[in-house]
Subunit: 628 residues, 2 copies
């Protein structure tokens, strides 16, 4: 039975602290960026763009016009979406007023035919819909549709949803009624249209999503021909590599994750969303999932091995120090996982969803919520990272903002909607895919309270306050937990189906799950040349790393995996995260590059969770270590 | 006392076989390429370019005009230079006639004012000397000067030398007499002018070399301003990164090897050549040498860590799989080493010269002399190499030729002039920097015969047939030889001065040197993150590597450095090179990317000399291996 994501989740514990940080710090900070009021950082201008577009439509002088990326509008959309999730659980009148007035501005920037995009409206309305390859109009509409759905769900206010329904109908008119060719150069709107469809039942949204999915790749030369038919480009893209936009073949025939990683996982999410109505998409989704997670994903849940095109490269090409691992790509991987989970409660999806969240997504944000990584390497070497031309993208300090600012607001909306990924439901069951403390209210009437200090502590307790129509709970037992104990209403459960334990519930059922939080050494497949024969430490969902701050030159360390690593308490400078010590040997430093001898001495190596790295100044960092 | 390079060396042994291969196969093959008669390979057109330029000067129709790189002329120059070295030791009437007629063509392509460059003469004479940043006119003149000097020395025919003297005077007139600003965007002519000066005593050549060296970097903005003063470019270079052309500061103030690696080492060679007449250049040469060899050089003597600009990057940034290590750059490093050795017989120079030759330079050519590498990685993974965007430059099979064909003829001329690098002399001494079997005749009257199967065998015997004016021999004892025995005229020598053993000689003196050919594991400094904690096998000057052909997945192997590697005889399929077996363990293959367990089994790993890799089909290859 198909599940739906949960709407009402009031968090506490680890997730609660992160959501509070986003509410108190990240959302206000990001708003100041959008208004160009943040200090010492990249200019956004996104709110001014909407105001200027409205002036353009009114025939007025557009003032300072448009500034920013062709997809600048999407930063406002993601901020509204994050604000919506925040308002759903933390009523905040000032925030709601701020969002309402931004929505008013957006509505004013919509053309009378439903078109909405400040880049084209401010700059050149004749260029509308002529550059699907690079133009990002469908991408921006997609993000704004997501914001509209979230804002209506959170506040009951449907102004933005009406705006975006008109915009969707405009797009429907262009691509379906008028029959104009094409599909998005940057997939995004597909998954957004499916959100709109699920929220409103609007069949045009479904038809549009399906049309974009079905058209893709039927003519691999579409974008090249589109490019040749116009005399302008945004970035000079020639459209000659259709795999870059996942349009080299029809989606049902795609077997390898190619091209721009964010585009890829956004597309696959849209495809997975459509499985309900078209099961012929399922095999491709499963094949692409396996290709990514078995061959093209870092242990941190990062994807996209190269900065060149922010892209997937080849099977088993997973370099640590030049990794791209865009924060948005791991967020998109969570989307894909969640969409697959709705059809198939298999921990192969939820394990990866959790891996991506607790490692790459959280690492994308400084612990104080004020700085953000776009790129999330598994190794950083100040002196090389950020300096060598091959490593320029690997910055050694989180910036405050980006000219291309997709990641920070994406992380904000993801964290604020964590409950939607952690919990789902169908008519008679509730699902716990990830462990998230707090209160959950399901549409099927079930109300659940979860108490846990996870991922620091491995015990998770649930109380079924009311069962409602739910007769069963499905609790994921992670693949990383070598042992577990689960009792439901005093009864021990051991049987698993695709990594999920199923148990009957009723009002008042008490559930206690204990997972195995022993620190573990991970070993890479010898098929992955960069890390074959090396080891990475993890505990629960958290991948650990070794920083120069704690260890001096981490490249001089070789870990002794025969000695059990020891948890050494919580580090206040890392938000209270658990640190772990390992036995190691340290090679003696030398300025001779190559020698016939090498001396080394026993040493201890201190590891911290990967998501906390780079919170104590610029320093060296490694996830994968040599082992004895 | 300053040394000069030896002129007459008739090789046998290992070097003899390579020179014979170049004479019999490489030089004829390359000529067929230059004539566009080679099959299935890149077009050269270089000889036609000269013919067409001559027609342009005669006011005739230029036929199919110019084709190729802006520096296409230099391929002909390097071929003539290689042919000259070949003719010096292997008289060959047909080859000499071929070279003579090419020289006739070149002479006809020279303008009446001495200008010589087919690109500009065929295309647009108004552009002459307006693009020193990219134009390569001085670079091409430099290579042709080198060819002219070599051809005159080898054959006694001075037609090309007269052509190039007129060309040099034309350049002198432009840059010195007329006082036009500028210096080469691609250094090369400096070292060529110094060859001309040493061969002819022409003071204008010396003054021109010195002027170019002294001007460089005095205005770091020179190339940016030059770019802004013209409305055309060759490749779009903006001149905004002066370090790319080593012109960010005056050469005497340069401390780090930056930018395009070949340009860098060609420049430093020119600087070192000038030390005789200007000792203020010495400290910068020594500092730059140390920077390269201690921090920016691969164990194979490869330099230039990145394909992006074919350039140096940062200290200790030495990735194996994305290495550039252009063949020409290691040849240039040998030039720099040899130039430093002329002033200072220190094995720190000759050790590196030998390392570069026996590894990167020789690896640049297939064992049959018919295919060539431009890029010489230390790791190759078919499936990733040549395919991932970051690895596109790492081709997995040597191509027959290149559109940018600098390397193949450069390797040919280097191999054919090996004696000049192996041996030098001053008025009263002869120097053996590298071990090269054959007969050597020095200008000081000494005649030496060297008998050795080096580098397969570690015994080198010299007979002083005649001492001439030489009273001493200086024999390098390599840094890699942990022990050695040297007897000169029956007397054992143990004392070394900067790694050289000095001994008196007279007519008939017999010298016997035995070096330590034990296979050795090398360990990288922990400052080099990519290879810290790893090991590479070497024997004598030869770095070894592990190929998939012998070992299956080499990334699954971990070497046991506690077990002594065993030499396992010679491999006929590798030109008789010695192969070595090491104890290892092999990790079990798995398609699970990350696991908590890993099983492995004892295995044996077979290593071959790096220079012989990729001679048995496309396969995986690694130099640096994990170690137990």
């Amino acid at each position: 039975m198909k599940q739906t994501n949960v709407k009402a989740y009031k968090s506490d514990g680890f997730i609660g602290r992160y959501q509070q940080l986003v509410r108190d710090t990240v959302i206000p900070y990001q708003y100041s960026v959008l208004c160009d009021e943040a200090e010492d950082t990249e200019k956004s201008h996104v709110i001014a763009n909407f105001a200027n577009a409205a002036k353009a439509l009114a025939g007025e002088d557009t003032g300072d016009g448009f500034y920013g990326m062709v997809f600048q509008d999407s930063d406002a959309a993601k901020w509204i979406e994050a604000a919506a999730y925040s308002l759903a659980n933390f009523p905040d009148r000032a925030l709601e007023e701020r969002a309402d007035s931004l929505i008013d501005l957006i509505a004013a920037a919509q053309d009378k035919d439903g078109y909405l995009n400040t880049y084209y409206t401010c700059k050149d309305t004749d260029k509308r819909w002529t550059n699907l390859l690079e133009g990002h109009e469908l991408y921006c509409s997609g993000h704004m549709i997501e914001a509209a759905v979230a804002y209506a769900e959170a506040t009951g206010k449907d102004k933005l949803l009406r705006v975006m329904t008109r915009n969707m109908e405009h797009i429907y008119d262009h691509f379906i009624v008028k029959g104009c060719e094409g599909f998005p150069g940057h997939p995004e709107i597909e998954l957004a249209l499916m959100k709109m469809y699920r929220a409103t039942g609007n069949e045009h949204a479904l038809e549009l999503a399906r049309t974009f999915i079905d058209r893709r790749g039927t003519d691999p030369d579409f974008f090249r021909k589109e490019r040749e038919s116009r005399d302008w480009t945004v970035w000079g893209s020639d459209g000659k590599d259709p795999d870059y936009q996942q349009s080299g073949r029809p989606v049902r025939e795609q077997t390898e994750a190619t091209g721009h990683a964010v585009r890829a996982v956004y597309l696959y999410t849209g495809m997975a969303d459509l499985i309900d109505t078209d099961d012929t998409l399922r095999p491709a989704c499963e094949t692409l999932w396996d290709n990514i997670t078995n061959r093209r994903m870092y242990i941190t849940g990062g994807i996209g091995s190269t900065v060149l095109g922010e892209a997937f490269t080849a099977d088993y090409d997973l370099p640590s120090d030049t990794a791209y691992c865009e924060t948005c790509a791991s967020i998109g991987l969570m989307f894909f996982a969640s969409a697959m989970l709705r059809h198939d409660a298999d921990r192969k999806y939820s394990d990866v969803m959790e891996r991506a969240f607790y490692n790459t997504v959280l690492a994308g944000m400084q612990l104080d919520g004020k700085r953000f990584f776009y790129v999330n390497p598994l190794e950083c070497d100040p002196g090389i990272s950020g300096k060598a031309p091959t490593h320029r993208h690997v910055v050694t300090t989180r910036p405050k903002w980006y000219a291309c600012a997709c990641c920070p607001p994406n992380a904000a909306r993801l964290i604020m909607s964590f409950g939607k990924y952690a919990y789902s439901e169908d008519d008679t069951a509730v699902y716990a895919h990830m462990y998230a403390g707090g209160k959950v209210i399901f549409d099927n009437g079930c109300e659940l309270i979860c108490r846990t200090s996870y991922p620091d502590d491995m015990t998770v307790r649930y109380t079924v306050v009311r069962a409602g129509n739910a007769r069963r709970i499905a609790v994921r037992i992670p693949g990383w937990s070598e042992a577990f104990s689960l009792s439901v209403g005093g009864k021990t459960i051991t049987a698993l189906d695709k990594g999920y334990a199923y148990a009957d519930i009723s009002d008042g059922t008490e559930i206690c799950l204990t997972l195995d939080g022993t620190p573990r050494f991970n070993f890479a497949s010898p098929r992955i040349p960069h890390i074959a024969g090396m080891t990475a430490l993890s505990r629960g969902p958290l991948v650990y790393c070794f920083e120069g701050t704690d260890n001096g030159n981490v490249s001089a360390l070789t870990l002794d995996t025969a000695v059990t690593p020891q948890i050494k308490g919580n580090d206040a400078s890392l938000g209270g995260a658990s640190v772990i010590e390992c036995a190691a040997v340290r090679d003696e430093d030398t300025d001779i590059p190559y020698s016939f001898t090498q001396s080394s001495a026993p040493a201890s190596a201190r590891a911290i969770p990967y998501y906390t790295w780079c919170n104590r100044g610029e320093t060296q960092m490694r996830v994968w270590m040599r082992k004895k």
